[in-house]
């Protein structure tokens, strides 16, 4: 891949992507839903017995694991196939710009929209939580950072599909497929455990076997994200509604960050390979 890139061209594309998508009414609507849900969760947790940022964050996780992939996929799925279909990509590519620069610009611009949405979604609730109980500001910031990484995984994957597939509708199909994978892969691994003779009841007492931990962490970005968030708050053990989760020692935040980075970078290189030889 050419090291020789024009940063001004990348920035120009990134700025355009940001300005166009930050005003996308679907993204706006999802961000508002995001803000409302996080506020509701934070208040609900604040009134109950369980106080403290960590517990609230566990509630917020359920929102972000659902909403963040949706926002990311909505931003990414048509970013190349859609623009190629309307013809504007051909105008862009007729300018003195390389394909790698267009692709990087899209990643950066869309990544910025995604980050803005997440920071707004969690930031407002965060200020309320932290003023009530200034327990773990650093942990909460790590949590927001991890949420952005989770979003970038799905953004990267959906841009990748968009670069490979010719038409907007097919890349929409791929985006929907990606979302389902995000939602069910954890359960699929559970099902494999059960089908191969594992007892689901044991999971509560003895915990998950190593192979399950590994495959969850590698194949299911959502489970990895939730685990990384626990570790970010310095929690290895957690008991929720009679279910005990104990993260094995060999799983560290550092390793999880490497997996995150792989999930974000690998699709980028695949996208570049296909985008470079694509007819526009």
């Amino acid at each position: 891949m050419g090291i020789d890139v024009n940063t001004r061209a990348i920035f120009t594309v990134a700025k355009k992507e940001f300005m166009d998508n930050v005003r996308n009414k679907w993204i706006l609507a999802l961000t508002i839903i995001f803000i409302i849900l996080t506020l509701v969760i934070s208040f609900a947790h604040g009134r109950g017995e369980l106080t403290g940022a960590e517990i609230t964050v566990l509630g917020l996780l359920s929102i972000s694991t659902l909403l963040v992939p949706i926002i990311a996929i909505m931003l990414g799925y048509a970013s190349i196939s859609g623009e190629a279909e309307t013809g504007s990509l051909s105008v862009v590519m007729a300018h003195p710009i390389r394909r790698v620069e267009v692709l990087l610009g899209k990643y950066i611009g869309l990544g910025a929209v995604l980050s803005t949405s997440i920071i707004l979604g969690f930031g407002i609730a965060g200020i309320l939580i932290m003023t009530g109980d200034a327990s773990d500001v650093a942990g909460y910031l790590v949590f927001i950072g991890l949420t952005i990484l989770l979003g970038l995984v799905y953004l990267s994957l959906s841009i990748c599909f968009s670069a490979i597939l010719k038409r907007r509708v097919t890349s929409l199909g791929a985006g929907i497929g990606l979302f389902f994978w995000a939602m069910i892969i954890g359960s699929v691994i559970m099902a494999i455990f059960w089908a191969t003779g594992g007892d689901l009841m044991d999971l509560g007492t003895t915990g998950m076997p190593d192979w399950m931990w590994s495959s969850m962490m590698i194949l299911s970005p959502s489970d990895m994200y939730q685990t990384a968030t626990m570790l970010g708050f310095g929690l290895r053990e957690l008991a929720v509604v009679g279910f005990e989760i104990s993260v094995p020692d060999y799983i560290t935040l550092g390793k999880l960050l490497v997996i995150f980075a792989t999930w974000i970078l690998a699709p980028f290189f695949v996208a570049y390979y296909f985008f470079k030889k694509r007819d526009i």
Partner: protein, 315 residues
Amino acid sequence: MAEAEFIIRTEGLNKRFKTVQAVKDLSLNVRKGDIYGFLGPNGAGKTTTIKMILDLINPDSGDVYIKGILTRENGVGVRQGIGYMPERTQFYRNLTALQTMEFFAELKGVDKAECDELLNKMGLEKWKDKKVGTFSKGMVQLMGIGQSLLGSPELLILDEPTSGLDPRWARILKDTMLEVNSNGTTVFFSSHLLSEVQELCNRVAILNKGQLIIEDTVEKVSEGQMQKPKLILKISGDAGAAAQVIRKGGFSDVDFHGNVVSVHCDSHERTKVLNLLAQANIVVDDFRTQEVSLEDAFMKYIGDERSVGGELNGD
């Protein structure tokens, strides 16, 4: 002619889409300073060729040189001096006209002051702060033309530039093409409107089923089919019978339709045609003549087979 005087040169371009041979062994030569018309029926491969020239579509084989530089090897450098407007485009729904223009100006490294100027020129000054998503088809087309003119490019490549424009804006666009050409810009455009091509271009190429039929000056192309001017007669009786009479009189290129007969003949033969009809007691209500047109030549070149698209494989 020296190599560098050809601003676009393609050599043996081929492109196949699955079962369609869209472009076949195509070699074109566009000279600096030309207004070059790129003609062909629907599906002839014009858009595909234009996109290969711009390095947007990868040819299966063949080379494109712009100003003597192989585009495959230095696409970025070569595209610096090109303005392009595609066949159809939608731009970015949530950006205003001005923001869209500024985006392209930034990509080209052109002074943003030009954006306002060009929006005015394209009649969009009142709309410059409105989102492009709300524009009509023709307004989007005008935006497309506006952005292609940014930075006064050396080479302007327009894919059916007047389609979708009302006659007034089509006129303004044609004048703009002549104006930029007189300032040194080479204009390469595809079109279905042969009258406008005849009016604007000094050179044309005709493409059919992906293959080049002819590339020459407008005059040579028009005459190339040994065309004679057309005499069109309105008959009060049976046009078929009239056509028969004219054919018997030694004219082969005769056609009739309703009560109209047309015959291709030189101007000195016109009285002979009229005399033939008078002798047969056929009353001519009205007649007019039509000079050799690119349109007639075009029809002859592409034949009257009614099928569109490139050559289908195994067909």
